[in-house]
């Protein structure tokens, strides 16, 4: 009973976080800020939903859920960085949306890295 309640709270919080992330994709003005919405509330939401689910399934399946969470946490930042960098290089980061841009003019020219 208590387990059910905890699971329900976690699932609902996770869903709320995912909804807010989705809303951010629509409401925020440019690519880097949208990347924030796609990585932060989304990752948090997924972890909460996984935690909520883990409470209700057998141990063996719960361990697999742990793996899902781990990969999400490891891969999301990498993708965010790659996308952000390409966006900056491609000029889709609008300067008027930035308070400061200390990278302006310092982006190295094409270099394989």
């Amino acid at each position: 009973m208590i387990l059910d309640a905890m699971s329900a709270v976690l699932l609902l919080l996770g869903a709320l976080s995912c909804v807010l992330g989705g809303l951010g994709l629509v409401r925020l003005p440019d690519l880097p800020s949208r990347m924030q919405a796609a990585t932060k509330p989304q990752t948090l939401g997924l972890l909460l939903i996984l935690a909520g689910t883990a409470l209700r399934v057998e141990l063996e399946s719960a361990v697999t859920l742990l793996l899902v969470g781990l990969f999400q946490v490891i891969t999301a930042p990498v993708i965010a960085q790659l996308l952000g960098r390409s966006a900056y290089r491609g000029g889709s980061v609008s300067p008027e949306l930035l308070v400061v841009d200390e990278l302006a003019g310092k982006m190295p020219e094409e270099r394989s890295s």
Partner: protein, 176 residues
């Protein structure tokens, strides 16, 4: 072979977890696949031996988890409160570590923490450029910059050399 042992063990573990069953077949299958994968796709050896402090590492993990909660809330707040009027900043932050592994951990940690992500790492000048969502003025930018340095300090406390950790402390002291 012995250098590949940790990755073989790790890959076997992932394999068994993916199958979700701990049986002789899944373990043997995992070992076979892991040996094959490590033989076919060799990674460059990680040359730097890092001092790992398990307790600090655990503290760091818990902090990151907490940071993710704060991060989710903070970004959601920006979405609801500012929406299309949200502003960001790209700031240059001193990069304290020279180890590739530590820098990778730092970049990952920064991208999980509130409203920030690493955009570009300039190893030659020991500077990295971090995007932050939320700052609306220069005081906000300085707060975000301080946060990034503080995160580096935490990572270095768990993984870095004592010198680099001391440097992070010094830098943080100068910024406050």
């Amino acid at each position: 072979m012995s250098a590949r042992l940790p990755s073989v063990l790790w890959l076997t573990l992932v394999w068994v977890l993916l199958w979700g069953t701990f049986t002789p077949v899944s373990v043997v299958g995992g070992v076979l696949v892991a040996v094959l994968v490590t033989a076919l796709f060799r990674l460059p050896p990680a040359i730097d031996r890092l001092p790992v402090r398990p307790l600090r590492l655990l503290t760091l993990l818990l902090f990151l988890l907490w940071d993710l909660v704060v991060s989710g809330a903070e970004v959601s707040w920006q979405v609801l409160r500012r929406g299309p009027r949200a502003r960001g900043a790209i700031m240059a932050v001193p990069l304290i570590s020279s180890s590739d592994l530590v820098v990778t951990v730092m970049a990952n940690a920064i991208s999980l923490s509130p409203g920030t992500m690493a955009l570009q790492i300039d190893h030659a000048h020991d500077v990295w450029y971090v995007y932050a969502l939320g700052p609306r003025d220069h005081a906000g930018v300085e707060r975000a910059r301080r946060r990034v340095v503080d995160m580096q300090r935490r990572v270095l406390a768990a993984l870095g050399s004592p010198d680099e950790h001391a440097e992070a402390e010094r830098l943080l002291g100068r910024m406050s």
